[in-house]
Point group: C2
Amino acid sequence: MEPKYLMLKNRLHEIADLNKISQVLGWDQRVMMPPKGAAARAEQLATVGKILYEKFTSDEMGRLLEDLRGYEQSLPFESDEASLIRVTRRDYEKAICVPTSLRVEMTRTAAQGNQIWVEARKNSDFKSFLPVLEKQLELRHRYIECFPPAENPYDVLLDDYERGLTTREVQTVFDQLKKDLVPLIAAITERGEELSVAPLHGHFPVDRQREFCLEVIKRFGFEGDSWRLDPTAHPFASGSAIEDIRITTRYYEDFLPPALFGSMHEIGHGLYENGVSSTLERTLLARGASQSLHESQSRMWENLVGRSRSFWRFFYPRLQATFPDHFSNLDLEDFYRAINKIQPSLIRVEADEATYNLHIILRFELEQEMLSGSIALKDLPEAWNTRFKEYLGIDVPNDAMGVLQDVHWAWGMVGYFPTYALGNIISCQIWEKILVEIPDLYERFERGEFDLLRGWLRENLHRFGRKFTPKETLERVAGTPNIEVVPFIRYLKGKFGEIYR
Amino acid sequence: MEPKYLMLKNRLHEIADLNKISQVLGWDQRVMMPPKGAAARAEQLATVGKILYEKFTSDEMGRLLEDLRGYEQSLPFESDEASLIRVTRRDYEKAICVPTSLRVEMTRTAAQGNQIWVEARKNSDFKSFLPVLEKQLELRHRYIECFPPAENPYDVLLDDYERGLTTREVQTVFDQLKKDLVPLIAAITERGEELSVAPLHGHFPVDRQREFCLEVIKRFGFEGDSWRLDPTAHPFASGSAIEDIRITTRYYEDFLPPALFGSMHEIGHGLYENGVSSTLERTLLARGASQSLHESQSRMWENLVGRSRSFWRFFYPRLQATFPDHFSNLDLEDFYRAINKIQPSLIRVEADEATYNLHIILRFELEQEMLSGSIALKDLPEAWNTRFKEYLGIDVPNDAMGVLQDVHWAWGMVGYFPTYALGNIISCQIWEKILVEIPDLYERFERGEFDLLRGWLRENLHRFGRKFTPKETLERVAGTPNIEVVPFIRYLKGKFGEIYR
């Protein structure tokens, strides 16, 4: 094997190790760390980040990547080796564009912004958050200037989460989505039928919730020797290696859905990371291809599997046995309707499958206006509230439940929100393909069988990791490089048409 | 402030961060990590170790330390600044003596040795462990050769755990210890009085054990916002920062002492780390001065506090309330005698306060003979068993309960064992000093008050961290740089003379 390739790989191993170390430190910080460890942990994360960045952007790395062009071209495009060189070169070329001073400032501002946001949300005080937002927007502009001009400056931000996707493309997708979704939600709302969610409230002891969640996700692929499930305030999935996956969830004693669907959501992320080919371990390709594709997996297990009737044909008797006081007098159909109630609501992370996407469209529109300057940042709450009323028909009572509800902007993550809705859409593109290839999929769910689904996803998506661009990956798994809204709308209409008649 | 000092400090911050990151990764590995994460974790730890070592032994570091000689001499010896330069220079001078290739081989052999030892102990198969031992001894010789010749080659190994202490000094201490201890244990054994340990066996639910342990160690200084207590197979103390301390313990459902005294032992280590001056955070001085001094703290809280009668005057009623079925008919005196029974036994970590030290003396003697070649490694089991019979009067039934019981040699840790007994001895030197300065110490224990003790230790020992050598540190806390056996023997005679009349 080409000696320079081995040199590159050794360097990338070190860098990938540092990256995973950051993940473990971050997991520990959010799940295990005593609160007073926070200051030292911030320094540790900064140190690892700095070393990683120095190593990744070294001249030696640039030379190796240059010298390996010939070797790369001699290899099949889809080989691990060619992919590693190709993707690393793209990452490298982006990384060296950003001066260290700006990167340091971005990291520091994100940490400070987080603290200020926590307080601002607690007090529903947008004014105290405004300077953070101003600083973050300024930093975004400086960041965008580091790169060659794009058709739309927002493209540069989007590219960090969804390489190669343009604002124009997202706009097209979201226009279509809005066109179909708004009347669909209106039709459901006009039906005036009130599905009762009362059965989902009550008293659910945490240990029994955990036990039931584990039973579910074990059937999805959670294995005790390579996974963990822990409680945390803001659930996420992380890990230290392909075979060391850490997912988290949040239990409410009086409300069942967050832990139940949350743990299915996070195992979706985890299964993606866990399914990456072991030949990519210790490289920066050993993770999902993009945020949207990642989200397509979490939403698939949470919604397409976990909120399906077939799934509950198998699991509902078990849920009844776990909480007999609660569910013994409720039949499956009423439970199924309760977990699938469509109703516009204030908080994105608690929204249903349909209205969720309107939250995202709203963010996407505001982000572009913030970036172009067509809206003054101080007017954001008003713009949020007006548009929220327009799209979701709800009056926003305060900024904590409105524009301040999410942390992303405090961290400087502008361009991230679209990936949530794109994930929903992509999950249905993939789903239609799966249903063709595994026609008895739902019957399998009724028997508690999910192995074939997992195997299919691993074979057609997970194992590639980040070898290909999001579009190349989407083409492999869904047969087209384009994000298409039709399957998602078809799914919503089919499912909720039946539920709401 | 001297600009070069700031440069040094910045470099040391990075190195200290990497050191703490290793600790967190190690804690996670032993407490949280799913088993299949092991291979990736080993790589991550190796990567951090390699980067840390490269940064610490860089030429630039050497130059800075050289350039700062004048600045160091202009400062008071005990200042943080002079101490940081002085101690770092000593660490640096040792570190650069060892070639990277040898260091890598030592790390690799330790990891392999660990695996082989686990199997060998399980099967009580010394033969399969012999090659590891041979390799480790060979590596020790190569390591020793990296340094200037010492009076005794063993000095070089000892110095890694107890800087500046010589084999001759340990020999003198242990000779005296043996002289006093052997007849003392013989006298106790000859009394023939069988103290009953039956009350310590029974059924003790883990959650109630944990609750009681937490109640105890909270009074010692365990605070939920800067500490954790978790279960693990082989208990230890670790941490991510001065205010992020992680201790671990092991619960047996049918036997109370391991979790009870084990958690007091580990909080002793934790209080030392937690008591280091915050001005030393993010430097390599932010930890205990040596292994012996560390062990003096764990043994002090475990034995001098936790096995004292005054301590149990306060806690025994609480223990009775926690396990009413068990202790309601047992009076304090019988309980006190049960937890203080002296009886030679096979396993070091389960040994009582007196006989424990004979296990260590035996290891110390064998280690020197192994290193000098006066004993063939293949004859170790026989030598172990013969001497064990001689010192402790017990026939060793197999190697798993004999020479294979401890992991240290598998890791290449030769020269470490003595620090355990030295810790016992030092704890009593410090204790006598404390009793002079806090005459009502035991009365305070009877009221559940341990703050003054903790404060004294922090003021006179903990806050210094690793600013001074072990001897300098001992002089500050105990009034003499010498390790003296008399207080320990006086303590044993006083306590067990009374118990065994």
